[in-house]
Every structure is written in C-alpha cells, then in structure tokens.
Amino acid sequence: MKRQGIAEALRDGITEEMQRDKRVFCIGEDIGVPGGWGGAFTVTMGLDEKFPGRVLNTPIAELGFFGIAVGAAIMGSRPIADVQYGDFLFLASDQIINNAAKLRYMSGGKVSVPMVMRAPVGATGRGSQHAQNMERFFTGVPGLKVVAPSNAYDAKGMLKAAVRDDNPVLMFEHKLLYGSKGARAEPGAVDATSEIPDDDFTVPLDKAAILREGQDATVIAWLLMAHFSMQAAVQLAKEKIAAEVVDARSLSPLDWVTLVASAKKTGRVVIVEEGPKTGGVGAEIAAGLAERVPGLTIVRVASPDIPVPFTPILENAYRPDADRIADAVRRLVA
C-alpha cells in the first residue's frame, strides 16, 4: 500500500497498462517532451523515457489527434488520448461523437473503438475557457462511456478498467483533485489521495459508490462536489442530520441501481453539480430518479447559468460549496 494523489495514481495506472499490453500508447499535447511537464498536470511525467515511441507528443490539433486515436483504435491499438483542458474537447468532438461513439453501431457491430480519453475540468482561476465542466456535453452520447473519479483509488482503477474496455471511455478529472506537485500544483487543491494497493485492481465503469451512509437525505455528487458534499455531511451530522453521500462516479451509464436504492431509502435527494443548472447531468439524474421513484423530493445545487467567471469572489460564488450543499439538505429535511 502507498498513499498517492490522483496524478501519481494515474501515472502508475498508465505505466502498468503500458507494461501489460504493448498495444497501449499515449497521445496528446506536451505529454512527452524531455524537460517538459508530462501533460498539463504531470500525469504522463517520465513516461516517454520508460516507453520510447509510445508517448506521442502532438501538434496543437485536438480534432486531428483525437481522430488519429480513433483510427488507431479501430485497427487494434489501444490509445489513451488526453486534452490539457476539458474545454478543448469541443475541438475534438466531431471525432469523439461522430466517429468514436457511432462507428460500432453504424457498422452493424463490426467495428470496435477501444480508446480512453482523459480531460481535466473545473473552475480554477483560469476564466471561462479553461474551466467549465464538460460532463453534460458527453453523457447523452450513445456509444460513449463517461466516468468521473473523485479520488486516487477510483482514478487508477477506472483508468485501468477503461484501458481494458473495448469501447470508447471518456474520463473527466478535476484540476483541484490531481494533487499535482511543483510548478503544476493548483492553489485551492483538495486532498483526493487514497491508499493504493500494490496489486493490480480495477474499478467498474458503471457503479456509483456510497461514500457515507445516512437515512435523512441522499446527496449525489461527483468529482470535486463529492468532496464538498462529504464536508457538508460532516457539518450536518453535528446537527443530527444523517446525509447519505453517493459519488455518482459513472456518469454514463448512470448506476440507477445504487442511485435508486439510496433515493428510496431516504426519500429526499440533493443533486450537486459544478456547472450551470440548466441542461446539466444533474437534470438527467433528477429526471431518471423521478421516473423510477414516485413521490421523491429532489433539489439541485448547481452553478448559475453563466460562463465561469475569473475573479475569485465570483468564481467562488459560481462553484457550489459545502455550505450551500448543507443548506439545501437542511431545507429539504426541515
């Protein structure tokens, strides 16, 4: 066992998968430059030395290299493609949505696209274009699996499961959870370290996780919001309110078994999402629960319907926090 942050755990996970399967390779911007950063958040640091020729440093061309990853995948390679910031996925989205996600269906089941995509998200003092949470734009794409691990154990286990999956898997990672060090450390970072076993392990791509049990209300969140929801639950426990915190973790497909069971148990659900309330993943979770659990009371805590602002006072108001989550639960159980 060793204690690791998400960036380190992902780096080890990628290393182990590249050692296990020679078809695995990495492709992305600034991921394999000697003396460079190992990607925007150090995840691929040093991999180019360990795996010469298998860490492909690309031009700044997200549409192009995501397409290249799809093409390599359909021929049997197993690429891991990453963008420096999730916002850049818009540039790559033709290849992700029209090719990676659809080729299996439109070929009548003849093509498989075993690729992993990684994208950092979250409001972190970078203004509007290096900040937004992109989950909502991809969770409704048939043929694509979408995951969002909130801690190092899940990140490593889901990464490894994604590499071994024969389908395209998009993994969202939160900039404040990486635990990146040195020049790439993030102000305002939250501890997402885990005890990581020495032995090989994977985490399923279609299961939510109960982070804390309780019977008064269910709080559903993911990524950074899972941490803030846990902070809120600790606060609420002091007030004798027992919140159950569910890390949705698998955003497409959603784990309805776990989500519904918790909702039925508490009868009250707070869905927490970093990102505009309108059209969010939270809206899908709310609708899906409402269809499945009659009489359920559902509240959403999300960002206002605005681009991500820069100045800290506004950015902090944009991002839901533990106090807002706790307030929502209090109102619900009152």
Partner: protein
Amino acid sequence: MTSGNRPEFLLGLLEKMIEIREFEEGVKFLFLEGAMPGTIHQCQGQEATAVGVCSALAADDFITSTFRGHGHALAKGLTMQEMLDELFGAKSGCCAGKGGSMHMGNMDKGMVPGIAIVAGGIPLAAGMALSFKLENKPQIVACFFGDGAVAEGAFHEGVNMAAIWNLPVVFVCENNLYGASTRIDLVMKNTRISDRAAAYGFEGETVDGNDVLAVHEATTHAAARCRTGKGPYLLELLTYRRTGHSRRDPCHYQPKDERRDWFARDPIDRFAEQLQVDGLIDPDGVERIRAAVTERFEAAVEHARRAPQPTLDDLETDIFVTKEMA
C-alpha cells in the same frame, strides 16, 4: 499504354468500372422509383479513381471513404449483394442495415464504414496508419476524400500529423470540381490541390483521374513509398461527377460545355476504346461485360428486396462491445 500489363488485369479494371457504373445507374433508378429508403450520393463518372486506387492496394490494406462511397466499396471488393442488402436496409447488409448508403464498409475487406462528415476520415486514416506503424505491420491506408474536404481543419491536422510521423497513408483527393453545388474556384485560391503536400513537407501529384491506368500507376508508386517508410503521399485525381451531388440534384450549376467536355473523357469509354485499340476486346465484348454485370445486379436486387429486415430486437444492439476483454 496498356502494354506491360496482363490482359486479365486490364479487363478486370474495365469490368470493375462497368460494375460500378451499372450499380450506380441501377441504384439511382431504384431510389427515384421509391423502392429504397434514405438518400444517395453517387459516383458515375468517377469510376477510374476508385478502381485505379484500389487495384494498386493489397487485400489487407485499408481504405477510408466518404458519403460517396459505393464505387470505393465495389473497388475494394465488397459485393453488390451486401451493398444492395444494406441499401434496402436488410439485416444481411454489410452494416446490418444500420449504416446505409453513406456508411458502406466491411472491415474484413479493408474498408472502414464511410465517414460522412466531410474530412472526418482524414485523421482517422492517419490513425489507422499510425497503428500499422506502431505494430510494424506492412499495411497502408488509402484515404479517399473530395475537393471540398481540403477546406476543413481536419484535413490540415490529419495530413500534418501523417507528415511529421511519416505515416503510411496515401491521401486520395477526388477533385470533381464541386463541393455539393459550389465550384472549387469559389472556395480556394490555389485550385491545384496537390500543391498542398509541399506545405507539409511531402510529395503530391495531380493525375488524370479519368485514366484508370494512370491512377493505378500513381497509386502503385505512392503505396510503395508508404510501405518503405517514406511517409504519406497526396494524389489529386481530376475527375467529374456526371450525376447530382445527391438524389434529385439536376446539376444546373454545372455549365453545359463543361459537362460535354468531361463526358467526352468518360473513364469507361476511354479505357474500353484503349483496350479495343490494343486488341484486347471488341465492342461486343464490352457489351457482354455490361450485360453480365446487369444480370448480376438484377439478381442481387431481387434477393435484396426479399432479404429479412432487422427486427426491433436489433434496435438497441451494437452500441457497445459487451464481451469481457481477454
């Protein structure tokens, strides 16, 4: 001109081009009479590009295609039957009725389902070639696209990465002068598309795309370069679409004299005449090929009309690979 090539090879080129023409004409009729669902984008007049390129590839080489892919598919070895089944939406179609006209393909025959987003197949082809290179496989990719694709960012990005990594891709631009109804000189200052290759640091050439042997020879040369690790090659094949961009397009934007000039350079007529001059076939022989192809086509149509359609049980299959990985 045809000397040095075996007669059966030359006659095979002619037969394949006639097969594509008859297939397209037959399919056009079926669409217009309402027998087939969907829409079509056809390639009458462009048979020499598909046949010239694919005849220079190995069976396990791959091609990527576009929404105008019927000719590419036949040239790469798909059967009229699996394609007609697909056009009729049958479960026995090459894409089980889920692809349709714009997504013709068969991985077992080296053809990825057609990528119908303009230029969307270009980075894809580069990636396929990257996989071959990473795994030390001898295969190459021929990537078909039209003149319209050159304006897309995907062209620039995919071609550039193929260049810097010396990937084995022959980029095949079928320049038929029109992107839908828009003529190329309205959308590019330099209409010589092969010039683009130099900007990325590799070779390109412009070839008479209505001369099947010229296309075959240029592709053979390009493919050989690719196979020896010299990186990509850009072939610009000048050709002309005799029919509409899609069904029911009367082509009013194509000037009459331009159509007349290109029709006079029809790839099938030209090649048939050449083979006649060389004494390899006579006019009756050409007609016999046409009649035999038509007979096969009609039989395939009858079969496709009766081929079972998918059931609603098939609606939600083929989204994901569900088996456990080894």
